[in-house]
Symmetry: C2
Amino acid sequence: MSTDRLIDAILQKKNPTVLGLDPQPSHLPPEFLQEAAEEYGETLEALAIAAVRVNEVLIDALHDIVPAVKLQLACYEQLGPAGMVVFAETAELAKAHGLYVIADGKRGDIGSTSEAYSAAYLGGVQFGDKFLTVYDTDALTVNPYLGSDNLEPFIKDCERHDKMLFVLCKTSNPSSREVQELPAGDRVLYKVIAEQISRAGAKLVGSYGYSAIGIVAGATQPSAMRVLRERHPGLFFLVPGYGAQGGNAEDIAYSFDKYGRGAIVNNSRGITCAWQKSGDPLPDAARRAAIDMRNDLQKHIIMV
Amino acid sequence: MSTDRLIDAILQKKNPTVLGLDPQPSHLPPEFLQEAAEEYGETLEALAIAAVRVNEVLIDALHDIVPAVKLQLACYEQLGPAGMVVFAETAELAKAHGLYVIADGKRGDIGSTSEAYSAAYLGGVQFGDKFLTVYDTDALTVNPYLGSDNLEPFIKDCERHDKMLFVLCKTSNPSSREVQELPAGDRVLYKVIAEQISRAGAKLVGSYGYSAIGIVAGATQPSAMRVLRERHPGLFFLVPGYGAQGGNAEDIAYSFDKYGRGAIVNNSRGITCAWQKSGDPLPDAARRAAIDMRNDLQKHIIMV
C-alpha cells in the first residue's frame, strides 16, 4: 500500500520532510543559468537544462536525508515541452534514489477528463496491447471543486496502481479563507470537504491506519490542522507552508498523531534557495538547510 | 481587448460554438492510429502524431465555421512531453487560421505558483533580456478554490497581454452540486464565487460590456445559467455540456443577452467523433455536425 511505503520511508529517515523541487528560473543559481545559456542561448530549452542539472545536484545531495520529493508541475509546464521532459527525468532520478515522488498539479475536471489526468500521473494509457506509463509518480494533488465524479477516476487508479492522492482541503495561502472558510451549513467549507474525502478514501486504508486518499492542509493554519487531525484520524496530510510562508514546527506538530505519523511537511525554497542566504555552494547549503529542518521537526514530533 | 476579439469572431461567423479538440486515444479514428503505430510502434509518440494529424484535419475542415477552439490540456498531458508539443502545434495552427484558442487546464494554486501557470499559457518567462512565450493561447480556464491571491497573477497577465480567463463557477458534471451548491451563508457556493469573479473582473470590461474575466457555467444547469446571466451582465460564459452531456440549445439560450452575446458553447465529441455515428470520413462528418450545431444554436439565439 502506497501510504505505508511513504510512512515507512519517513520513519526510516526519521524525517517527515518532502523536498519541493520547483525550478523557478529566478530561483536557479546564476552559474547554472549562465552555463546553459552559453550552450543553448536564452531559450526555454536552456532553462530546462539548468533546471534538470539543479535537480540532479539536489537529489544527489539530499536523497539520504529526505524520504520524498514534490514536483510543482507549474514550474515545469512554464518551460514548455522541454520542461515536461525535465519533470519526467527528475521523477525517474528521484525514484532511482529510493525517493517517493509527489506530482503537485492540483488537477481536477469532469470524470472523463480526470481519467486523462489520472492516466498521466497515476495510471497509464492503453494503446493496442500495450499499457503505457506516462509520468511515473507515486502521488498527485487534486482540487475538490468539481465533486466526487471528478475524484473517482483518480481514486480508482490509486487502488489499481498503488498510488496516493492529496485533495486540497485547507491551503496555506492568505486568501484560502475567502472560499474554504465560507459557512457551508453548520460548518465551514473545508470541513465539509474533509468529510467527503474521508468517506471517499475509507476503503483504501493501509496498515498504519492511513488512507491512500489524503489531504493538503497548510502549515499556516494550525487551528485547522488540529481540528482536522482530531476529527479524521485516517487522513494523511501533505503540509505546505513551512518556513517561507510562515508555518513553524511547533504548530505543524498538530498534524501528527501520538506516534509522530500522519503527515509530511513540504519545503521548497527554504532548502533549494538556501545558497542565496549562506553564499555556500548549492548542494552544501541545501544539505545544511535540510538537516536543520529535520532537526527542527524532530524537536516537536517524536516518531516511533 | 481580448473579450471583444472573441465576440467579434463569434458575430462574424454567426456561431457561438467553440470546437473542443480533445484527442483522447480511444476517440481517434482507427486509420490515424494504425498509420502512426506502423511508423512509431505502439508508443506515446505515435499517439501524439495521430492526435496532431487529427487536429490538423479538423482545423482545416472547420476553421471557416467555428470562431474558436478549446484544447483540453489533460488529453495532451496524458501523451507525455510529445503531447505538449502537439498542444503547442495545434494552438499555433489554430491561430494561423484565425481561431481564438482557449487552453482548458482548470489550473489554480497559491500566488507564486499561479504566476508560473499564467506564464505558461497567458504571459511568458523572462530570461535575461528575452521574454519567452511558452504556449501562445488566448485564454485559460482556472479553478477558484484557493481564493483571490490564486487569481491575481492570471488577471494581471490578462491585463498585460490582452488575454481572457474563465473561472470555474457552476460546472456541467452531475456531482458539481456536492460542492458548488453547498449553502454558503444565505446563498449557495457557486453564486458567491460568481460575485467574487464579477468584482475581480470589473476593471477589465471591453466595448461589448463583457469582462476579460469570465466563468464556466455548464449547459446542464439551465436555471443556474439564467440566474447568473441576470445577476452578472458583465460575465462572459464558457458553456460546456452541449450534446453528449445533455445540454440543449433552448436551455443554453439563457446564457446569452438580448443581443445574442455573452457566451460561447463548447462541443468536443459531438463534432470530433461524429464519424463514429455517420460512418463518413472525419472531416465531412465533423463539418456536418458543426453546421448542425450552428443551425441549432441560431434557432434559439438571435445574434445582432
